[in-house]
């Protein structure tokens, strides 16, 4: 019946071309060969577009030469691990090992993520489950910082951290500003601003409101029936929180942590602003340094190897958690 009706109605060329049926199941019909080949051509062109920069950097990273090839090379013609070895051995001109850089990056991304999560979860629970007077106003307070891009609060955080210094004074005294100061000149031995914990604190400043908001959104979706049943059985709110809600929220806690990890792993603006000692540098700062000021003298294969190393953990986590992350990102993006 429908087959007879088809020729009279000329369907849209695009619709016909794509054989539009979005159910995802294969019906009885097969795609005609000419159409299949045309579609394959299109998908291949798109795949080339995607693979072009990736293959370019992969090829560079496996090259043993430090210069870029003078003609385009997208397929490695040698598999030299020289660049990787050099990067792992001595990533920069400074006497800093790769392990140190990795540790700094890991300290910031894991530390900030964990602290934000642990502190945020109880607040998220309060917002999600309790009715109390100041709820509305406190929620707006948490929301306001989300509107601000991270760089927006960099100045006050920079100055705040910079005022926490430990100074060795002329005598044997030690002055801790802003509480005490030296009488004369002194040597600054510790500046919170110029230290990894200082950067971590500044990063938590932005991560915490986000974690509260994100977790609250998830806790809202956990059905309340379980808790009501527990309440009838005589559980108090604290027990409900630790015995029922927390275990149910573990997947989302993990997703929030990894979302944070992906962001903090690439964090560049704050460390680059705060830190000045090469031994405090993170992987992303090192990568920026490699292509930054002395771009003409850079060993390109090492830069490419570094790029691959920085990208790897994020790519692995992303692929493993893909399903959760897309939903989480969009929900978070709409809210803030």
């Amino acid at each position: 019946m429908t087959a007879q009706a088809q020729p009279e109605k000329r369907p849209n060329i695009i619709v016909r071309f794509f054989n539009m049926n979005t159910s995802g199941e294969l019906g009885g019909r097969k795609l005609p060969l000419w159409r299949q080949l045309l579609l394959q051509l299109m998908t291949l062109i798109i795949a080339f577009e995607v693979m072009f920069p990736i293959m370019y950097v992969v090829t560079l990273s496996f090259s043993s030469k430090t210069t870029r090839p003078s003609t385009l090379q997208l397929i490695p013609n040698e598999f030299s691990l020289e660049a990787y070895k050099q990067v792992l051995d001595r990533p920069t001109a400074n006497p800093v090992t790769f392990v140190q850089l990795l540790r700094n990056s890991a300290f910031l991304s894991v530390g900030v993520g964990l602290v934000a999560l642990l502190v945020a979860v109880s607040a998220a629970y309060a917002f999600s489950r309790f009715k109390f007077k100041a709820r509305q106003i406190l929620m707006i307070l948490v929301f306001i910082p989300l509107l601000m891009p991270v760089i927006g609060t960099a100045t006050p955080l920079f100055l705040m951290m910079n005022s926490f210094r430990v100074t060795e004074c002329a005598g044997d005294d030690i002055a801790i500003s802003p509480f005490t100061t030296c009488d004369g000149q002194g040597k600054v031995v510790f500046n919170l601003r110029d230290s990894l914990p200082g950067v971590g604190i500044a990063m938590i400043s932005g991560a915490l409101p986000f974690a509260v908001w994100n977790l609250k959104g998830y806790l809202d979706t956990i059905p309340k029936e379980l808790e009501e049943a527990a309440m009838i059985d005589g559980a108090d709110p604290n027990q409900i929180f630790t015995k029922i809600v927390l275990p149910l929220a573990v997947p989302q806690l993990a997703v929030t942590f990894f979302l944070g990890f992906i962001g903090h792993w690439q964090e560049f603006a704050l460390p680059w602003l705060f830190l000045s000692q090469p031994e405090d540098y993170t992987l992303s700062m090192t990568m920026y340094n490699m292509v930054g000021q002395y771009a003409n003298a850079i060993p390109w294969n090492r830069f490419a190897a570094m790029a691959m190393i920085v990208a790897l953990p994020v790519a692995v986590i992303y692929i493993a958690l893909q399903k959760y992350i897309v939903g989480g990102l969009v929900a978070g993006g709409v809210k803030g």
């Binding site: 003609t71 601000m148 897309v326 993006g333």
Partner: protein, 338 residues
């Protein structure tokens, strides 16, 4: 007797009090930390924005003797362009920032949806391989992507000039192509955005950000496409709807609730795309690709005008607030669609 009746009354009141305090106890740790490192800096920022805080005040902070209260002078200087900063014009940066975000989303969303539909075609070979390949740009950190693309756009050794050279030489042209993608200041299409010249670097970044942006939209659109029940198409065709009508009346409206939030997310991401811009062009040439966030960063990191930087951040906050109110309106309006 009195004691017996009073007792439950007291414990009941205590329980009520406990119940009233409990939410605040749960909120306490988060708010304690946020008040020190989130809320206080926001207030500090506003105070700072009314001073002439510079490098020489770093030692003593707000207690410096020569720190002056300048009122709204910093704000005025930003708006009327009298900052001691080269090539800076607030309204040009603002216009460019909006243009940048809007043009990106306008390209990413349709491309993402079309590619999702293409991938969803019945009986397409190697679907899984394509899906796996197309996800790669979402997975790689933007910071790495930006450095790689910056390398690709290099005028002497960049892969893109090499690719163009290969193509032109294939068609018989002589010589090597040397397009100054990221450094040429002369805008190729001068009339496009009269307020703010769009240099070649803008187009280069559009290309790189296109690579980065559409796969996410495809991801979202694919999810939405697959959740459209088959019965809807059957019902539509029984009712006599042509495939064209089905496209506009079934697919488009059902994709909209998923694509609007994704588009707004994409807009916000592009609007504040710090890492990408900073790694690719650093705002250059001559600040022509500077976004609000990259300029804010330049003010504090390189120019070290802390007072001005604070004032600028306050302005950025209000711009972000306005953008949020508008986008929030849009999502609210489309929510009722489902």
């Amino acid at each position: 007797m009195a004691a017996i009746t009073a007792e439950p009354h007291v414990s009941k009141r205590r329980a009520q009090l406990q119940k009233a305090i409990l939410p605040y106890l749960y909120l306490f740790p988060a708010f304690l930390i946020m008040s020190v490192i989130t809320f206080y800096p926001l207030i500090y920022q506003v105070v700072l924005s009314t001073t002439n805080f510079e490098t020489r005040h770093l030692l003593k902070g707000l207690r410096s003797e020569d720190l002056e209260f300048v009122g709204l002078d910093n704000y005025k200087a930003i708006i009327d362009g009298s900052l001691p900063v080269q090539n800076f014009n607030f309204f040009r940066v603002l216009t460019y920032n909006f243009w940048w975000a809007i043009t990106n989303v306008m390209v990413h969303v349709p491309a993402g949806v079309l590619i999702a539909i293409l991938l969803n075609t019945q009986g397409l070979w190697f679907k899984r391989i394509y899906r796996a390949v197309y996800i790669l740009p979402v997975v790689i950190p933007p910071l790495v992507v930006a450095t790689v693309w910056r390398n690709i756009f290099n005028e002497n050794y960049g892969a893109l000039n090499q690719l163009i050279t290969t193509i032109t030489q294939f068609f018989g042209a002589e010589g090597v192509v040397r397009i100054r993608w990221l450094t040429e200041y002369k805008p190729p299409i001068p009339w496009l955005l009269p307020n703010s010249p769009l240099t070649l670097a803008y187009y280069a970044m559009m290309i790189a950000n296109f690579w980065l942006g559409w796969p996410f939209m495809t991801l979202v659109a694919t999810g939405a496409l697959q959740s459209i029940p088959k019965e809807l198409f059957e019902a539509a065709s029984i009712d006599g709807a042509s495939p064209t009508q089905q496209f506009w009346n079934v697919i488009v409206p059902l994709l909209r609730p998923a694509m609007v939030p994704a588009a707004i997310y994409g807009f916000m991401m592009s609007f504040n795309l710090f890492n990408f811009v900073y790694f690719m062009t650093n705002g250059g040439p001559a600040r022509s690709t500077e976004l609000l966030v990259t300029f804010a960063y330049d003010l504090v990191r390189n120019l070290r005008l802390y007072g001005v930087a604070a004032a600028f951040a306050v302005i950025v906050f209000f711009v972000a607030l306005i953008v949020f109110l508008i986008t929030n309106r849009i999502t609210r309006a489309t929510e009722s669609y489902t």
